[in-house]
């Protein structure tokens, strides 16, 4: 059900991905699997969230795991979240965890 509504497009050179749809525990495994190559990459990682309509605590957890995988080589950049997604990110303290929320690359 929910699965169909979620899309992951990795950007060339593994510098990030564009996510679309509603991200929740129903798609956590699928997301993790599709983002797997990014866990091996180093440097900044840009996640385009402009087409993400919903995030939950499992999404935050996934972003934190991606950030951890950077091991100080760079940050996870959360690009163009919709206002309510930005609010969840802020409330979750993603900034304190080393990520950046940005409206522009």
């Amino acid at each position: 059900m929910s699965d169909e509504a979620v899309r992951v497009e990795l950007t060339d050179g593994l510098q990030g991905a564009k996510l679309s749809g509603e991200l929740d525990i129903a798609v956590y495994e699928k997301l993790t699997a599709e983002l797997a190559p990014l866990f091996e990459a180093t440097g900044d990682l840009i996640l385009d969230l402009s087409d993400v309509a919903f995030v939950d605590s499992s999404t935050i957890r996934l972003f934190v795991r991606l950030q951890q995988s950077r091991k100080d080589t760079g940050s996870v950049v959360l690009l163009r979240p919709q206002p309510h997604v930005a609010r969840v990110l802020a409330v979750s303290g993603v900034g304190e965890l080393g990520m950046r929320v940005q409206d522009q690359t």
Partner: protein, 129 residues
């Protein structure tokens, strides 16, 4: 006026959550701002996700109704509250569900299910700004 209370009963399956929060959002839309509806969607999703992941329940019951000018959602399962956190070692982003729920609504109550009296009940109240 007809009683607008809506009751949704569904199997404890993560794939149901999307539909549940959409129905909650549609119900609440006349009473709350768009931003408050988003907050409520997240809180309800987290409460249901906990029932799916931790309670061992077969079904989940969600009730949405008005409490004065506020919207009240009750999420009930038939399980036992798990005291012990489980999860992956040293994952600093884990276990944020309860904190997110608390941040998203005006009033949060959690009555836990025990072996003696099974069924955890989470009550979420969102009031117009």
């Amino acid at each position: 006026m007809s009683d607008p209370t809506l009751r949704i009963v569904f199997p404890a399956d993560a794939a149901e959550l999307r539909d549940v929060r959409h129905r909650i959002a549609a119900w609440a839309a006349p009473y709350l701002s768009a931003s408050d509806v988003e907050d409520l969607k997240l809180a309800v999703t987290e409460a249901c996700a906990n029932a799916v992941q931790h309670s061992g329940t077969q079904e989940i019951r969600v009730t949405i109704s008005l409490d004065g000018s506020c919207v009240e959602v009750v999420v009930e399962d038939d399980g036992v509250y798990q005291m012990h956190l489980s999860g992956v070692a040293g994952d600093p982003g884990a276990h944020r569900g309860l904190i997110l729920m608390a941040a998203m609504v005006d009033d949060l109550s959690l009555q836990r299910g025990t072996e003696k009296r099974t069924g955890t009940r989470v009550r979420l109240v969102k009031c117009p700004a």
